[in-house]
Symmetry: C2
């Protein structure tokens, strides 16, 4: 569902209207009446049908969008946060995760949530990802990966000021995030011996210490340890040249030192088609790489491309994980 | 000339061989014998002719590359720094600037230099740009702009570690660099009322102070002052979305807070075609956006695309400056 005041419902319906037949088998956990109203408002002729994992009744109507009805408490206009509905948002996430854990779904695709609305309703997690990690057993270190057709990136530090990111960066953190990423690339992306390119932090990767020393004191030791553990890791690479068309051909993922080092290149290359993937969970989770866009919710303007990419990505990952010979959850 | 151990000579000759006839009128300040040798080694059939601004003899041979002979002291093999030749490198730069100042050239295109080689020979400037600024009268604040077909960026702080860049960032610095950029866009790029988009520093531009406060304490006051001075300035913009295809349509230049915030998007978009432009000088100066590439010098592998773009850019800027109604040097 995601935040019901946002664009989640309409991008889902637009995705179904434009690509329904070609999308991987999916069902939606959302308020059926709300979806019907959005479809009517946008003039989308979409049939909704009740879905249950325990019955195959839905299979007779492949053209209908399958919905696990998750009712909202109150009337929900687009663009306006209704705190009474926060509970249903959280419930839809827990429900989705539970269905993957009981084998009734192969992965979870989450629509964007509005953190401030959930906080008001007592949501105790900093964000979506942390909540999802708490639903994994045992609770893992989640790793955020962003992917488009041309590039995959993992920011080692995420929602911190640039100043705090410099302080938070550590050899251990780089090692941990890189290892989780390497395992996920093998298991969920079918890449046997992934090449992980580690970015430097400073201009020109510090130019031998003349413009910063973190490459020598923090990043190089992580690279050494990772190489010794047998991983195909290179770097520290000068950040400005690491994302050129030529450089992108040489690695499977770029491990980045801070939020914008990762997000600038991917959003520069493909603003609408990027997917946000959480690695390290015991279930597959993808998400469109944008927010709730309250300002345009209800207008039908929002692009469904990132959600479509997130749905396809989750299905591909699920197929790889299913085929993977690696046992266990990590 | 640039560093004679580097790729400068060969990319110039490749540029002339592939695009000579279509390039703006140009002459080269370099060692004629060295260029001849490189052309022979690469199998490029290029005729060289002596050039003097005081004679039109060269005009009879438009197919010949015009060279102001600037002899090297010693034999110069590719890839190997020869300190005895540093003097000629510096002299070629001064000569080029002097010719623009005496009206014998419309602008300067510099090939990359190797700073370490020049330092050994007593060169007292941190880099190319600072040396060029010292040749301007009065010595200005130079501003570095990088441009490709899709994007122009100005990093407000440049060759500093990320940590030092955070410390160096100030309201005054943003104001000064933005003003110089705005004047140059009018005078040298023919953009009457340029829109300058100012980037934030932190993820999501700090999200109202929850991820860093520099947007509020340093950047917003600069934007306010610039707007009050009548400039068309917006921001602080979230850095990760500022360089998307859609966002790029909305501004003429992005003013960036640190080196990689500017260089990552431009090198992601166009690695070979980027041009480095120094704004704020009393002459026009462009440069290819790469280094001396000593490791591949002599092999002919280096792409001439950035040099060609730098030559064309200098000519376009000279035409705009010539046509500009704005008097004076700033």
């Amino acid at each position: 569902m995601g935040e019901p005041a946002g664009i989640g419902g309409e991008i889902l319906l637009k995705a179904w209207a434009s690509e329904g037949a070609s999308l991987p088998l999916l069902f939606v956990i959302d308020d059926k009446h709300r979806l019907q109203k959005i479809a009517d408002n946008l003039g989308l002729n979409i049939e909704l049908t009740d879905y249950s994992a325990d019955s195959a009744a839905w299979a007779d109507r492949p053209e209908a969008l399958r919905v696990v009805h998750s009712p909202l408490a109150c009337h929900q206009p687009p663009g306006i946060l209704v705190p009474e509905n926060a509970k249903a948002v959280v419930a839809s996430i827990s429900r989705a995760v539970e269905m993957t854990q009981t084998g009734k779904a192969a992965g979870v695709v989450t629509n964007p949530i509005q953190k401030s609305a959930l906080y008001q309703a007592g949501f105790p997690y900093p964000g979506h990802t942390e909540f999802l990690a708490s639903l994994s057993d045992p609770a893992p270190v989640p790793v955020m990966m962003l992917a488009c057709d041309q590039l995959r990136v993992v920011p080692v530090t995420i929602h911190l000021s640039l100043r705090d990111a410099l302080t938070a960066l550590s050899t251990d953190r780089i090692i941990e995030q890189t290892q989780i990423t390497a395992r996920a690339l093998k298991r969920d992306f079918g890449i046997d011996n992934p090449h992980l390119a580690i970015a430097g932090l400073n201009p020109h990767a510090g130019e031998e210490g003349s413009m910063g020393t973190e490459e020598q004191t923090i990043i190089a030791p992580a690279i050494q340890a990772l190489q010794q553990s047998g991983l195909n890791v290179s770097g520290p690479h000068p950040p400005d040249t690491l994302f050129s068309a030529r450089a992108r051909q040489t690695y499977d993922v770029a491990i980045c030192m801070y939020h914008d080092q990762a997000l600038i290149p991917i959003k520069t290359l493909d603003f609408d088609g990027g997917v946000n993937i959480t690695l390290g969970l015991d279930f597959i989770r993808t998400s469109p790489d944008h927010g709730t866009a309250l300002d345009i919710a209800g207008s039908g303007q929002a692009s469904e491309r990132s959600l479509v990419a997130a749905i396809r990505m989750a299905a591909r990952m699920a197929a790889h994980r299913h085929n993977s010979k690696e046992p266990g959850n990590d």
